[in-house]
């Protein structure tokens, strides 16, 4: 008995080791599949591509070096130093050294021996070599799905593993609906498909789903993970930033099936394309989705280095399937990416206009307005109206001139008129009686220019600087028509970036700014009273009177102004007299002209007089007002359009290799933009390569990194597992593709199809491989536990967003609308309590926004919505190519108790009562069908019936509890339905929405 059972175990072990798991006891050794993973994982850390850390000058990644060194004697393992060392008994001799904690297994040692004995042939790393597959296997049909099945079948045959049969139709339509649209099918859709007798029923279904607008939303969930799209900036205060038009661009790009090469180009370099469209500019926001900071005390230089590295990591992961992050500090240990490659790749993005440290609570210039179609029409109409009004000006002037002489006579007689007058508040001293703050550095004419009196005030700084007074003894009352002023002289050699006048009428939120947005006080994306952009910086090297209109800075007649501040960002500025200009009667020049007879006036005086007359004439003033109103309306309409971050090219900044990634070390070599050296060199005819050159290289038909990376990810979306399982790493530490030829064929097909994403998904969907059941036979489970042979389909938890979408869809609450500002589902109060600058209060959407698809949920990087987080949605701080898949108690708590799901259940319950049929049995069957696309069998129906009956009894006894339950959420309560009944059905609905099958794609 003992012997027998042991024999069984041994047989089982042998069988287990032989079926697909243990590599190459029989089959010929293949370097990339069998040897490279061992060398990379166990040896390359010290004997690999990182030139800085090569031990004993031995590199095992280069055959020539390894052979010259004597480590490898091709054909003779026994004579190879490598074998001697890996078999050594002595602790000081054995490789890998014990402290590396990477011992070789006996199988690995044996593999290395066989490989050396067989000649120690190397292969170039598969991911970088040209596509390679047998074009059309003899006898195979040449349609795409058949090609897929051919490659899969070949490996299955070689492994002696049988595939499972096709899944039933209900499973198929559920699977396809989730995979291609992210929303479960309705019973009607299921019924139509299941009962469709036509040959191409399945193909029609695939086409219908690919044509659905939901398709773009579903694909975007994945793409937005890759590019780390979020609605907040990520660091420190994690302020909101407007970039959702980029998200909508992605959805539209997938829905319109934009060729992938174009998609790549527009995101990396949309702004550099000739005659870039608004959409292409929006796409270029990709380059600026990295995390940014507003933290006080941050050094811009440090953060520019952080953004730089973030971008290199993301670009290499998204488009090249490469993990270049390590090369920020040292040459990659496992892949041929050098530190130089890292900084050279980043140098493509050195032209982006950006700041190391931002201000303005989420302002991330450069940003643009993105009006939608309706707004664009409004703007066009307003532009036409403005043009029409402006066209009336000239005829009106001609008409008015006839009356000028009469007006002059009348005006001369008017005595009350007086010219405007500038009154100084500050000149050579600060004698307002208020207190001074900042440095009031009065200087005389010997030390610098002076405009009035004896002195001016010098102010200079590297950054933000100001001096001001407050609490003046006699505040100035704002009068209609008055303006504030200050004289400034900007040093031509060292001008400031920006200059600002600011007023205090109890608070300081009254600012007029000239020049750039560098002054952060009050900065917002749009001008407002607290940050009124008044134009370019004034000319340098001369005295200029800055004037601020109180109405622009939010001061109203009657306001008491008691302080003024003089602020600049950088540079050297001389400030002189400041004060206010009284209400203008007539300008001095006009008054003077009026006193003269017309023939005595100079040409300038005549012109000024005529101009003044024409503009003050009532009909003209009225016309001007109409124009101003239309322009104001236009501005209002334009500013109602959302902002989005974009790329804007400016003079590229200098990029140096940072030794060990240290941003404070300026000793590194300056590098220009270049692709990784081992992948070639861009030909740009002596011009500095641009982001567009990079994008063109990435999207070139022969760029196998781009095509392999993307088709592998498309396959991953359709099976839950990549052909290369490390969908985020095609490097030496990544896994060798289970079906290299299939991967290459798919990549080829992708490029040949014109980078047609829908074509690829359709091809995969139509294959037999895709249509197989996901249920393994016991034999298959033992032979291929991870499903790397694709003898069956994968079974996958739904993405977090789809868990939400499913519940909303089943309940009928789902509001389907593409795009728009992010939505705010219910969220536990106080979840944002740890945020500051500003403090945040989350207000759940109280309109349609409450029922949008999960994809549109406000994505707060530091505190992701708890429901999304529970179901493994990533924070989107870094690229995510493969989400974690967990199955946790927190998920259970969320589905059971999150008001979103309780509300969905009680609204679903109302549907059950109204639409589910007459008897409770009918209702239960209907409800179950809605959620999982099948009618319940006897025991399931019995269980649900029991829930219904128990809960109804309970709520009959506790009607108040019933009323509480059916009132969860904002959706109106169906008053016509009986609360106890509704509550009992709500419980049934909760059970159904919580079922494993409801949130799983089989």
């Amino acid at each position: 008995m003992f012997t027998r059972s042991r024999r069984v175990i041994i047989c089982l072990l042998i069988w287990l080791t032989c079926v697909g798991i243990c590599p190459a006891t029989e089959r010929p050794i293949r370097f990339n599949r069998d040897i490279r993973p061992v060398l990379t994982d166990k040896c390359f850390a010290c004997h690999g591509p990182d030139a800085q850390t090569v031990e004993a000058d031995l590199r095992l990644d280069l055959r020539e070096v390894a052979v010259d060194h004597g480590a490898i004697m091709p054909g003779d393992a026994d004579e190879s130093e490598l074998m001697r060392r890996i078999l050594a008994e002595d602790e000081g001799e054995i490789m890998p050294p014990p402290e590396a904690h990477k011992p070789l297994t006996p199988q690995e040692r044996e593999l290395l021996r066989r490989w050396i004995d067989e000649g120690a042939e190397y292969e170039a790393h598969w991911a970088y070599t040209p596509l390679s597959y047998v074009d059309r296997p003899a006898g195979a049909s040449h349609d795409g799905p058949a090609m897929i099945d051919h490659f899969i079948a070949r490996r299955l045959a070689a492994e002696g593993v049988a595939s499972v049969p096709e899944a039933d139709r209900v499973t198929l339509i559920r699977r396809l609906s989730f995979d291609l649209t992210g929303v479960p099918p309705t019973p009607e859709e299921v019924d139509a498909f299941v009962s469709d007798p036509s040959q191409d029923a399945y193909a029609k279904l695939v086409d219908r789903l690919l044509a659905s607008d939901r398709y773009g939303e579903r694909m975007s969930i994945y793409w937005l993970d890759l590019v780390r799209y979020a609605d907040t900036v990520g660091y420190h205060g994690d302020q909101n930033v407007s970039q959702w038009p980029y998200r909508d661009y992605v959805i539209q790009a997938f829905n319109s099936n934009m060729p992938y090469d174009q998609f790549v180009r527009e995101q990396l370099a949309g702004d550099l394309l000739p005659q870039a469209t608004l959409d292409q500019l929006v796409a270029s926001g990709y380059n600026r989705l990295n995390q940014t900071t507003e933290e006080g005390g941050s050094q811009a230089k440090e953060y520019l280095a952080i953004y730089f590295a973030d971008r290199v990591r993301n670009v290499s992961q998204v488009f090249m399937g490469a993990t270049m992050g390590c090369a920020q500090c040292h040459d990659h240990k496992y892949d041929p990416y050098t530190t130089r490659d890292f900084y050279s790749l980043g140098a493509f993005f050195a032209d982006l206009e950006e700041q190391g440290v931002y201000g303005g609570r989420g302002s991330r210039p450069p940003m643009i307005r993105v009006p939608d179609e309706a707004l664009r029409q409004q703007l066009t109409a307003l532009d036409e109206r403005i043009a029409q009004l402006q066209a009336k000006v000239k005829p009106l002037r001609t008409e008015l001139l006839a009356n000028q002489t009469a007006w002059e006579t009348e005006a001369q007689n008017r005595s009350a008129e007086r010219p405007e007058e500038a009154i100084n508040w500050i000149d050579d001293t600060q004698d307002t009686g208020g207190r001074s703050e900042g440095r009031w550095d009065f200087i005389g004419p010997k030390q610098g220019p002076v405009h009035s009196g004896e002195k001016s005030r010098r102010q200079s700084a590297e950054g933000l600087v100001q001096h001001y007074f407050d609490d003046a003894q006699k505040p100035i009352e704002v009068q209609p028509g008055m303006r504030f002023f200050a004289w400034v002289h900007l040093d031509p050699m060292n001008p400031p970036q920006a200059i600002m006048l600011q007023f205090n009428n109890g608070d300081w939120n009254h600012r007029a700014v000239w020049g750039t947005d560098d002054i952060s006080y009050g900065l917002q994306p749009e001008s407002w009273a607290g940050y009124f952009r008044s134009g370019e910086a004034p000319p340098t090297g001369e005295w200029v009177r800055l004037e601020a209109d109180p109405t622009d800075v939010g001061l109203e007649p009657g306001d008491q102004v008691k302080g003024m501040a003089f602020t600049q960002f950088g540079g050297l500025v001389y400030w002189d007299e400041a004060g206010w200009i009284t209400s203008p009667g007539m300008p001095a020049q006009v008054v003077e002209a009026l006193t003269l007879a017309s023939e005595q006036r100079t040409a300038a005086q005549s012109a000024a007089l005529q101009e003044y007359y024409l503009e003050q004439a009532a009909p003209m003033a009225a016309l001007r007002q109409q124009i101003a109103d239309a322009q104001a309306e236009r501005q209002q309409v334009e500013e109602s359009a959302p902002l989005t971050v974009v790329s804007k090219a400016v003079e590229p900044r200098t990029i140096r290799i940072l030794p060990r990634g240290n941003w404070m070390d300026d000793s590194g070599e300056v590098v220009g933009p270049a692709i990784p050296e081992f992948l070639g060199k861009l030909e740009t005819h002596g011009q500095r390569p641009t982001r567009l050159d990079l994008a063109n290289w990435l999207s070139a038909p022969d760029n196998v990194l781009t095509s392999r990376t993307m088709v592998n990810r498309l396959w991953f979306l359709m099976f839950g597992l990549g052909i290369c399982t490390s969908v985020d790493d095609f490097g030496g530490q990544g896994t060798f593709p289970s079906h290299p030829e299939l991967l290459d064929w798919l990549a080829h097909e992708f490029v040949e199809s014109g980078w047609d994403v829908k074509h690829m998904l359709r091809t995969i969907a139509l294959s037999e491989t895709y249509r197989r059941s996901s249920k393994p036979t016991p034999e298959l489970r033992a032979a291929d536990p991870y499903n790397e042979l694709f003898a069956r389909q994968g079974r996958l938890p739904l993405a977090a967003e789809m868990v939400r979408d499913g519940a909303l869809a089943v309940s009928g609450l789902l509001v389907e609308k593409i795009g728009g500002p992010s939505a705010r589902p219910y969220q536990p109060a106080g979840y944002y309590a740890e945020l500051n600058f500003p403090k945040r209060k989350y207000v759940a959407s109280d309109d349609d926004g409450q029922y949008r698809r999960g994809l549109y949920t406000h994505w707060q990087r530091t505190f992701l919505h708890p429901m999304l987080k529970a179901f493994d949605a990533p924070s989107r701080e870094e690229c995510t190519a493969q989400r974690a898949r967990s199955n946790t108690p927190v998920q259970a708590l969320t589905l059971l108790n999150d008001p979103t799901f309780v509300e969905a259940a009680r609204v679903f319950a109302a549907r059950i009562v109204r639409e589910g049929g007459h008897s409770s049995a009918e209702k239960i069957a209907w409800a179950y069908l809605l959620a999982v696309s099948r009618v319940p069998d006897g025991p399931i129906a019995a269980e649900l019936t029991q829930v219904y009956e128990q809960q109804r009894l309970h709520y009959q006894a506790h009607p108040e509890a019933a009323r509480q339950l059916i009132a969860v959420g904002h959706a109106p309560v169906d008053e016509e339905l009986e609360p106890v009944e509704l509550a009992a059905w709500t419980s049934v609905a909760r059970v159904i929405l919580n079922l494993h099958e409801t949130i799983t794609r089989y």
């Binding site: 600058f837 530091t862 529970a870 259970a892 059971l896």
Partner: protein, 477 residues
């Protein structure tokens, strides 16, 4: 007619399950009765046992309580006594120290010395030098192993917190609590193994991020779970309005039953894990309120902590931390946001210190009197220290030298390790990098940091990263 005894849930469950057959229902029944040791997979899924089993070394401690003093407490006003600094008060800071060094808000400004703002006295039998702002903490001075030679690499709050918690400033890596939970599992079946509590007060409340307790690339079950003093103590732990525990039991049981029925056809191992997840969720719905209901704490204990239990204060969180420790939670993190004293450092440190002094002291005392301090590691400290240079009458961020302390099992209480220079600027003696701290903490838990890795994007990641890190034996008794 719904009167149930104290065991009603189980009775209902039993009644419901008795008529069921199949492995699944056995698993479920065993979950409701922990004494039944079923071999069913669902039960095994329930409690994460950790990947380091057995531990690499004999562990000195079982659990960690990290009192994170967020904002960066001034070492010069708390544990690092610098009489020389007082002599230079108001004078320019020696440029030899500051030239070319990273600096935060004092960029481009004249650097002048600000002398220590508080008295130091010797406390405990060990005569440990401590600032007068901690009158209570002096009572446990002999438990504290003060490190005055910490240094870090990040000078702004956000990256410094990320660095201290994850070993790198790059987002997306697991926090130390997640690593520890992944490595060792938890000893509780009813609560998450890594719990985070927050409080604020005494200074400007710099934001913190869930990145600091996130599981990064580790599975999400290892992330820190935040608990709250208002609303649900844990998100979604309360039943929906109008649903009582009996009804919730019925619903959870029905979900389990239907899942099991479907499993017979689908043959999906995830279903057993799902069923088990729902059972633990249901238990949490009882265990969390039981945990946060502190009405049973005796008066003398409440007085020792000096708080109204559940008021969200740091002291209340300390009391809760003890209850979590008692229940087998592996890693407990308390953030107090209030140490960012750019201005008014004298009053600021005094105020914030007062908010944490009694709670901290009570926690150590309470753990000790329950015999738990010996297998707990308590960590007190912030993400960085503060400049010896004045920022007005405050201090700026400082990373070249700062203080923290350890207490509990296996550390040398009543001692000071390492030192900064006379200005309190650079850690000069026994310098201790954040990585060394991580390596030492793991060591105390029985883990060799070099052998504790997780493969992600082709690399073997570890908490201590790729640079060298040392276990500091001198800290250990």
């Amino acid at each position: 007619m719904h009167h149930f005894g104290p065991n009603s849930e189980v009775q209902i469950a039993r009644r419901t399950f008795l008529r069921r057959t199949g492995i699944g229902s056995i698993a479920l029944a065993s979950l409701l009765d922990p004494s039944r040791n079923s071999a069913a997979s669902a039960a095994r899924e329930d409690r994460w046992q950790g990947v380091i089993s057995p531990t690499h070394y004999a562990p000195r401690v079982k659990r960690v309580i990290h009192l994170c003093m967020a904002g960066g407490p001034s070492h010069l006003e708390t544990f690092d006594y610098k009489p020389e600094l007082a002599k230079h008060d108001g004078q320019p800071m020696p440029e030899s120290l500051t030239a070319g060094q990273p600096i935060a808000q004092l960029q481009g400004q004249e650097l002048k010395v600000l002398g220590p703002q508080h008295e130091f006295t010797r406390r405990g039998e060990s005569g440990l030098l401590m600032s007068s702002v901690f009158p209570k903490m002096g009572e446990v001075a002999d438990e504290l192993c003060v490190i005055n030679s910490m240094f870090t690499e990040q000078i702004n709050h956000d990256p410094a917190h990320t660095f201290f918690n994850t070993g790198t400033a790059i987002s997306g890596r697991p926090s130390m609590g997640s690593w520890v939970l992944y490595g060792l599992g938890a000893e509780t079946q009813d609560l998450p193994g890594f719990i985070v509590l927050t409080s604020e007060g005494g200074g400007q409340s710099q934001p913190i991020s869930s990145r600091q307790w996130h599981s990064g690339f580790l599975p999400s079950r290892f992330q820190g779970v935040q608990m709250y003093s208002t609303g649900n103590p844990v998100h979604y732990v309360g039943n929906p309005p109008g649903v009582d525990r009996t009804q919730q039991r019925q619903i959870v049981s029905a979900i389990a039953h239907i899942n099991q029925l479907r499993d017979e056809e689908l043959d999906d191992p995830e279903i057993a894990a799902r069923v088990s997840g729902y059972e633990m969720a249901f238990r949490m719905q009882a265990s969390v309120p039981e945990l946060t209901d502190m009405s049973g704490e005796p008066q003398h204990i409440v007085e020792m902590y000096g708080c109204t239990p559940g008021d969200g204060s740091f002291a209340s969180n300390c009391l809760l931390a003890r209850r979590l420790a008692e229940r087998g939670v592996r890693f407990i993190q308390l953030y107090h946001r209030g140490w960012d004293h750019h201005g008014g450092v004298k009053q600021g440190v005094a105020t914030t210190a007062q908010l944490v002094d009694q709670g901290t002291t009570a926690l150590l005392t309470d753990l000790r009197q329950r015999g738990m301090l010996q297998d707990t590691l308590v960590i007190w400290g912030g993400e960085f220290g503060r400049t010896p240079m004045a920022q007005g009458n405050g201090r700026d961020h400082h990373i070249k030298g700062f203080s923290m302390w350890l207490a509990g099992g296996g550390v040398r209480g009543g001692t000071v390790y390492g030192a900064t220079d006379d200005f309190g600027y650079n850690a000069v003696e026994n310098r201790l990098h954040v990585r060394d701290f991580h390596a030492t903490m793991l060591h105390m838990l029985g883990i060799d940091h070099t052998r504790f890795t997780y493969k992600f994007q082709g690399l073997d990641f570890r908490l201590t990263g790729v640079e060298e890190a040392h276990v500091v034996q001198d800290l250990l008794a």
